[in-house]
Symmetry: C2
Subunit: 216 residues, 2 copies
């Protein structure tokens, strides 16, 4: 198919497609002439993946490029790819204090979770714990048990769903999409469940008009 | 205390404090002279809250201003405040298709969760479901059970932890911090649990050097 059809089929604009082609995020089509190229289903799939990572994950282009490069490199194992996708989502906040980092390590040890020494997750988790501590909230494993338990439950289901003997391409795709999209899904489902639980607990006298919040 | 001490104690820079004062996010200090004002613990607490919402929630200033205004308004009930904080976090993606919105309503109904018709959560959830569908993923309640169950478990714990008879200020503060910070905590814990579960399942032969991902 031509560029215009590719744009229609993928829901990505022509200027964006050209940008992804130039940046190497999208492989070139088969050249038909000096100015025309032919694209196929693989191009549509790749554009949908870019769009998903961009819209849902709100990941910067450079991060998406790293994920895609790992996806396309058969020497990168499935476990390594998971690490790369996780590192993309684990955005540590501006400042992680030593106290935050120590709190993260202590929490992980107390939960019995194995997270490698250099993992970016220690810093990103530490940055959240640090803010919780500043707010006077406890950050020990006991106090955080409901969240740790929920995280452990979904992670177990997610990791178990990757067939150990699947072709690399299938597993890799599942991981790239899964790490980013199901994280956002969990975030949104938590909000929905909160609304439902709070209506049950505090009654339905909630004025909808109060919900408007300025965004920019 | 003076402005410089307030900056030190809160970890917020003097230009940022002046910006928050001008924008009404931080109440003025008690005037000591034409150019000097006195600040107290309440100012430190408010600045830490702004910093938490900004750094962890990555919320725009206008959104933070809405949350703070609701927090300071005694006529806004605790349940309403929860809705406002949720709306701030429930950022719908650029485009929500009718199909995405229908998928969200169907899922919520099948889960038996009560989410009001006009709630922003329907759109933000719908925008994620829509991308999952585009990726060929199932979005029915059965397929999404592990995430829904985890979300329900944390939400139940979170809502139960708000004492029904607490003074409004205490409950309000808990909600504003909780909705934003514990959402991010859950996100980070899921990544840590994933890393731990995947190391267990696929072995520890994971190269740390592979983890570097470009951020910008």
């Amino acid at each position: 198919m031509r560029l215009s059809e590719l744009a229609r089929a993928s829901g990505v604009s022509i200027p964006s497609i050209k940008f992804y082609l130039r940046g190497g995020l999208l492989p070139a089509g088969e050249a038909l002439s000096k100015t025309q190229a032919d694209y196929n289903q693989a191009h549509i799939d790749r554009l949908r993946l870019i769009r998903a990572l961009r819209e849902v994950g709100q990941l910067p282009i450079a991060t998406i490029a790293s994920i895609l490069a790992a996806l396309d490199d058969p020497s990168v194992s499935v476990v390594e790819l998971m690490g790369i996708a996780q590192a993309a989502v684990a955005r540590p906040l501006a400042v992680v204090s030593p106290a935050g980092r120590i709190a993260a390590r202590t929490l992980l040890d107390d939960l019995g979770w194995t997270v490698a020494e250099g993992s970016p997750i220690v810093d990103s988790l530490g940055s959240v714990l640090q803010v919780l501590m500043e707010q006077g909230r406890p950050v020990d494993a006991n106090s955080l048990y409901p969240w740790a338990k929920a995280a452990e439950d979904v992670a177990a289901a997610e990791v178990a769903s990757i067939p150990a003997d699947a072709p690399r391409a299938v597993a890799a795709d599942a991981i790239a999409v899964g790490t980013v999209l199901y994280g956002e899904l969990l975030t949104q489902l938590r909000l929905a469940a909160q609304e439902s639980a709070s209506l049950e607990r505090f009654g339905a006298g909630r004025a909808r008009g109060e919900h408007e919040v300025a965004h920019r």
